[in-house]
Amino acid sequence: MNPSGILHRKLPRRVMLSTIALAFFSSQLPASAATREPLYGAYSYDPLGRKLSTYLLPCEDSYRQGKHLQSEQCFRSLLESSHPLLQAEAFWALDDLQSANNAMRAAQQEHPDSALVRSRWGDLFMQTYQYQQAFNLYNEALTLDATYPPAYYGRVRSLQAGGGEPELLQSSLLTLNQLKLNPELSLHLRLEEVRIALEGDMYDEATIALANARDFAEQESLSLLEVISLEAVLAFMRFEDPQPIIYKALALNPTWAEGWVELGHFAEITRRYRQEYTFLKNAVTLNPNHWQAWLDLGQTALRLNLVEEANEAIKRSYAGDAFNPRTINLLRLLDTFNNTMVVSAYPQPPQAGSPELELRLDKEEKAVLESYVADLALESIKVYKQRYRLQPKAPIVVELFPKHEDFVVRSVGMPGVGILGVTFGYLFAMDSPSAHVKEDYYHWGTTLWHEMAHVFTLEVSEHLVPRWFSEGISVWEEWNSGPVRGRKIPLSVYKAMAEDKFLSVSELDNGFMRPSYQDQVIVSYMQAGLIFDFIGDYLGENAEEKIVTMLYAFKEGATSNQVLSHATGMTIPEFDAAFKSWITSEYGDFLEQLPKWQGEVEEGLQALKEERWAAAAASAMKALSIHDKYTEPNSPWLILARAQEKLGQTKLQCDSLLRYWQEGGYATQPLLQLTRLLLDGNSPEAVTTAIQVMQELRLADPFNADLHQILGDLYLEQNQPLLAESEFSVLLALSKQTGGPRDLAPIHLNLAKVAIALNDLTKSMDQVMTALTIAPSYRPAQKLLLELSRLQTENSSNRGTSND
């Protein structure tokens, strides 16, 4: 397929040059000028406000026009005002938030009935991220004036930022829409609608709303700066050059950094981090006191692996705005980067050119994880380089965080998000297996395989691949080339399939970015993966190659619909219908019997709980007769195996666990149990399978000491000393972890045996003496020492004889 048929305009690269041009404008900015939200006409609603606005607005206007020196002088003059609210505004504008707060308190005492004062005080709390206090003040303002729009608007913002009750937020929004608003706030809200349309990729709607907003602003003689900024964003989202449009705003206000910040936001949500970085560099060049821009720049620099620059930017942001929790989180994270993470480059030993891979691991975990992570990452790079016809231009950086919240802060700045991995281009971060110690269902190897696929899909498409397509390929790779083959679909997704909740492919991005029900994100992941399995079946021969060609088309600016239609020859409705039909052929029978299957699984679990083993086995077998591919939590294979164990049916139990593993199950304890059963069987084939099970299990639970002990022993028995040495070395590394093995003498004894197998007498003596230093009475080690000592004597004697 030739992608040139769907060629679209490429994003001009002139954007990259804009930083230099902007240096001129920044010279006008006094150092003390701070970033400040516009007033949105807050002073226009009551007589007190209107009276004070005659003093305040000239200062504000100067600032909005980029005349920061003039604005600063104006605000300084207001410090002498006898009115505390004007003083508060002046302190605030001059970045003295503590004095502003004191003046606000004085203003409130002087004007206890003023909704304006309380509302502005609430705004000040919003600026310092104290959403609850802000919310309280907005409510107090509304008690004084139930129709005061700025207080309603403030309440909406505080509820949004502070994660307030959705019902209250909704009702506040409704009320706000019914109020008579001043033109400034009205324009601001119209522009919010434009942002929502842009974030939803509804560019036609955004275009109309933006044109209306421009007309309105012009009619009301309002500032066009925000309008122009969003016009630049619209251009950017349509792959046009936003810079000429931003220059129109800069002609009105040469220090207008918000335009670049706005562009940065949209570059971020469309994962174009390098462009985001450029936009934010422009922003801080224009306004070095734009603390939010410094923070965003820091976060983006971190995503681009520019750690030092990120450090500087985030510290710069903190120096100006010490209240932002995201800044504080990121500073803490940088401490983690500097103090506990270590970087190692691959291949080892180094070869010519830059490294292919860099691992950033916690230093406490490095000895356990490094070899497994490096091997798998290098393997995935090899597979993907060939499949996606891409030679990476920089080392791919892989970070594993032992603390989930560190990983989340690294990814999005704030904790509390349930993600496992995030890819930013040539860098991805993910949870270390130690972040999920209590869970049996985190397979870090699969997560790594998934994220590495994103590196290639993002780079191939120059970050223009739609979310669903990129996720779909990653899931497809997991299932078809990853460490645990086969589709692993959670029950919630089967339920969604049965309820016909799959979206049209043209709307699938919404399932990821604007989920409308609890499990929609995971449902969307699975749907995207299934779409690629379907495309693979549909396209038949060379399907893989054709999928890669589709990916390349995004680089040229093609849309999902164009790419799909071109590749499959179907319209989107036809594609959706064909996919649905394929789903029916794959899962129709199962989905029809899903309630029955669920009933049998639940009955099986209940029977296990009540120790009715035969009943549990019967229910599990009925469930398996309906669908035997389910290996997620509460798999019927595991119910059956447990029941068989209790019934003393060891051979059948082993068979059930084996099927569970063969179907893609990877829960640690059942697989360790399988391993033991296989080893008890003592046949060479069973031992080979046991080794294979454990090798795979390392990609799920590498911190499990039993796993390395058993595997190390097996390798020793199989005379594979180097592999055994690796496992016993990991065991030693694990001993330094909380909960790791503490009985070190047997590990050193095993390492001594490894050295013997490697014909290294000196090392063997060292290891056996280490074991005996820990445990002098350890008889097996004593015996080995004795044997080694006799051998040494014998060797010396032989040398003496031969010398004679």
Binding site: V437, K438, L716, E717, N719, T738, G739, R742, D743, L744, A745, K753, I756, A757, N759, D760, L761, S764, M769, L772, T773, I774, A775, P776, S777, Y778, R779, P780, A781, Q782, K783, L784, L785, L786, E787, L788, S789, L791, E794
Partner: protein, 347 residues
């Protein structure tokens, strides 16, 4: 030639279990292999009030494990206080009697299983009627002749006792396995070895430590030096690690931090893990066991001197002693195989 082949044995195979057997020999009824040779170890268990059925069962289970551990050690005299009889008065009275009986070569291990409290000034262990105070425990243990004696208090707030038993030092100067310098040991020579479940009196949640500590006394996994005995240090280390692992696994802030204070915890054995074998006095086996005991004692002496020696010299000396022990062990094994297998089938 490969070393493995040269050794003439398949080192990958496990060793016959006979290597793990420890032997005792009878000398006029006295089991001479006891770490406190010729002496009595008084094993005293005080089970406090459980309050709820769950705690009561838990403490009872810990007590059973301690009783089994006591039974495993030769030369041990067990005393258990529990239920309504475990009052302050009864306990104090029993210790008054013990004072008259205990000799200077004897030692005592006192285990407190139950709930404790600390009001900021005084530690109390909950028993029927009047609670036993920290001062009571201090008086009981410091007035006893002999020693060193061991106090293991697994209760909540038990760390309050640390200051009481070591008033000249603050708790940061605790002596643990990593700080057994001669000077520190000498300073504490006459004091009591104290193990607590918490680091101070303010850790007041019910503890996990006791369950793991008592569990350790029958576990090979706790016997890190492989001498088939579980010392106070080993049981402490095992329990401490298990408690840490539980809090880590549950992603909770730890509410207890166990402590160990006092001299030579490695030398204070609380249980043995092997089966007892009998050797007739004057026999070759008895001689070998005696030699083995002597070598092990020399190894222990050497270990104590480690910090004063150059590492290479230490390792050389250790290797020499261990080789000696290994040769004796080999001779013992040959005799034991003969005892176990009179028909000589294993030979």
């Amino acid at each position: 030639m490969a070393i493995e082949a040269a050794l003439g044995v398949n080192l990958m195979k496990s060793y016959p279990c006979v290597f793990f057997l420890r032997l005792l020999f009878l000398t006029g009824g006295i089991l001479s292999f006891s770490p406190q040779a010729q002496a009595t170890l008084y094993y005293v268990i005080l089970e406090g009030l459980g309050g709820t059925a769950t705690y009561t069962a838990n403490f009872s289970s810990q007590r059973s494990q301690l009783e089994a551990a006591a039974a495993s050690l030769p030369g041990t005299e067990l005393k258990v206080f529990l239920g309504e009889e475990a009052t302050r008065e009864v306990v104090r009275s029993w210790f008054e009697q013990l004072k008259l009986k205990i000799t200077t070569t004897d030692s005592l291990a006192l285990f407190l299983l139950g709930h404790g409290s600390f009001d900021g000034e005084q530690y109390k262990f909950n028993v029927p009627e009047i609670d036993i105070t920290g001062e009571d425990l201090h008086q009981i243990l410091t007035e006893l002749p002999g020693g060193p004696h061991l106090l293991v208090n697994t209760s909540s707030a038990s760390g309050a006792l640390l200051e009481l038993f070591n008033p000249q030092k603050n708790t940061s100067q605790r002596i643990n396995n990593n700080d057994t310098s001669q000077q520190a040991l000498e300073e504490l020579e006459s004091s009591v070895l104290v193990i607590t479940a918490t680091r101070n009196g303010n850790e007041k949640n019910a503890t996990l430590f006791g369950s793991f500590f008592t569990q350790a006394l029958s576990l090979e996994a706790a016997d890190l030096d492989k001498n088939l005995r579980v010392s106070a240090q080993e049981a402490f280390d095992y329990a401490n690690a298990q408690v840490e692992a539980v809090f880590k696994e549950e992603n909770r802030l730890s509410t207890e931090h166990s402590q160990l204070l006092g001299p030579e915890p490695k030398q204070f054995n609380l249980a043995r893990l092997d089966e007892q074998q009998i050797a007739t006095e004057g026999s070759r086996l008895a001689q070998l066991l005696s030699q083995q005991e002597s070598v092990e004692a020399r190894i222990e002496d050497l270990q104590r001197q480690r910090s004063t020696m150059v590492n290479s010299e230490y390792l050389q000396a250790l290797q020499t002693l261990i080789l000696e022990a290994a040769r004796i062990g080999e001779d013992i094994d040959q005799i034991v195989i003969g005892i176990d297998d009179p028909a000589g089938e294993k030979q």
